[in-house]
Point group: C2
Chain length 272, copies 2
């Protein structure tokens, strides 16, 4: 009755849900279709792959919420069919753990370990040192769009803070930060399953320092801390240590209510 | 000829090397002995387990240096014999990736994914935002020792900054930080293989906020950024977000030359 919540959205087929669906195969694995819609210049986004893989595991565990995922990317995944091997390691009372391998052409392309829990049952002390960063509101930010933006960007309503957006017009801030507001353009509300995608959704923070030709992700870990409220996500990515081409990118994701909903870190390479 | 380097140290048997040795079993796995020497009140330290597991994998890959390890701890490991199943996922030119399962009583206790590289071959840009934190020198810090300290602590020469050490005498700083100087007490130089242990070597940072009965690690990821120089390591661990009992602990490890050698993050629980 007038409800346009998540369940109905899935039935209608939001892009994220359509492109992270897995189908069981006769041998107990899962088939996934790696969509080109999340490509960054021809290559599937690492956060998207870290969301597709667990979709196979999610069916095998009793807990509803992704709590943590660590994705290793030994080699490049391509858009198209993939085989997902998911295996539970332990079904616990509070937390379930499993591993997932995404294969193409018989080769492992992504290896993931993930934990699930029921975030609504989390109990224990709360002490948060800082609230969300103070950004200008979306309407005072710079929209990520335009003919040179990767396919990926078109799936979001994405606004970079003016300082972060400097790189795009040749005015690098000199500080490796990329921050802004983001939500799915088709209205799908954010949830724990989509956090890995949001954790890798902005251009690399180091673009405000240098612009390497390629910044492949080697490892990405995302912790989901709270079920996000519907609406905007406020995201901030920073790199403090670029050493001989290796760098970390640390992400914080806040929901519209000002609650930290996810933390991420990736190890990446900056290649000329 | 007067060389007292790492290779000789291994032969003599530094504690870390003796307690992370693995022996091949006839079926192609590895046997490890989880030493009680790294126990924290009866339970093996998570960083130690994240160092033992890769010891099996290190023998299978051509690259010498641990670059990244992500350890998931679905259930408690006990001191004593363990079976280590290590498998390479991909041997690449720059990076090799593999997975490791540490089993006891036929059950997976720790699941690890790790990458190896040759850190001496890393090339690319360097831009480091901050140098090592300004701590008082070790002699002006507070030594971690004494009859109530866990067995674990006795293996280190470990000095906490006065502010960090406040919790031990009931003067919590109110800021979730634990910082100090640390090195192996037997003189073993730090190296990439031992970084996971150093990444989990101090009391939990939240002890300066609250002191829960138990803070089990759910997930620990360590990135090794540079081969450390011999001598002291300067370590800082902070927790910014404790939410309903879930918390991250972020670690930075600097060597005596002032170079960042490792970054770590763990997801843990604070349980009453």
């Amino acid at each position: 009755m007038g409800c346009t919540g998540y369940a109905e959205g899935v039935a209608e087929g939001f892009l994220f849900d359509r492109t992270t669906r897995v189908q069981e195969t006769p041998d107990g694995g899962w088939r996934a279709e790696i969509s080109p819609r999340w490509n960054i210049f021809g290559v599937p986004n690492g956060g998207y792959l870290a969301a597709v893989g667990p979709a196979g595991l999610a069916r095998l565990v009793p807990h509803p919420d992704l709590l943590s995922v660590s994705a290793y990317y030994p080699t490049k995944t391509e858009p198209g069919q993939a085989f997902v091997r998911a295996e539970t390691i332990r079904i616990g009372k509070r937390v379930s753990t499993g591993v997932v391998r995404v294969e193409q052409a018989g080769e492992p392309r992504v290896h993931l370990t993930a934990m699930y829990t029921d975030l609504s049952m989390a109990d224990g002390p709360t002490h948060v040192e800082t609230g969300p960063p103070a950004f200008p509101p979306p309407e005072e930010c710079v929209r990520a769009e335009g003919p040179i933006a990767p396919e990926f960007v078109q799936n979001f309503d994405m606004w970079l803070t003016p300082e972060s957006a400097g790189w795009a017009t040749g005015r690098r801030s000199g500080h490796a930060e990329m921050s802004g507001w983001v939500r799915f353009i088709d209205g799908r509300p954010p949830d724990p399953a989509s956090m890995p995608l949001f954790a890798d959704c902005l251009p690399p923070a180091i673009f405000n320092l240098i612009q390497p030709a390629w910044t492949p992700t080697l490892e990405l870990t995302v912790h989901v801390r709270t079920r996000p409220s519907p609406g905007w996500l406020q995201v901030r990515f920073t790199t403090r240590y670029l050493q001989h081409g290796h760098l970390e990118e640390d992400g914080e994701i806040w929901d519209e209510s000002g609650t930290l909903v996810g933390l991420s870190r990736q190890l990446a390479q900056a290649r000329a």
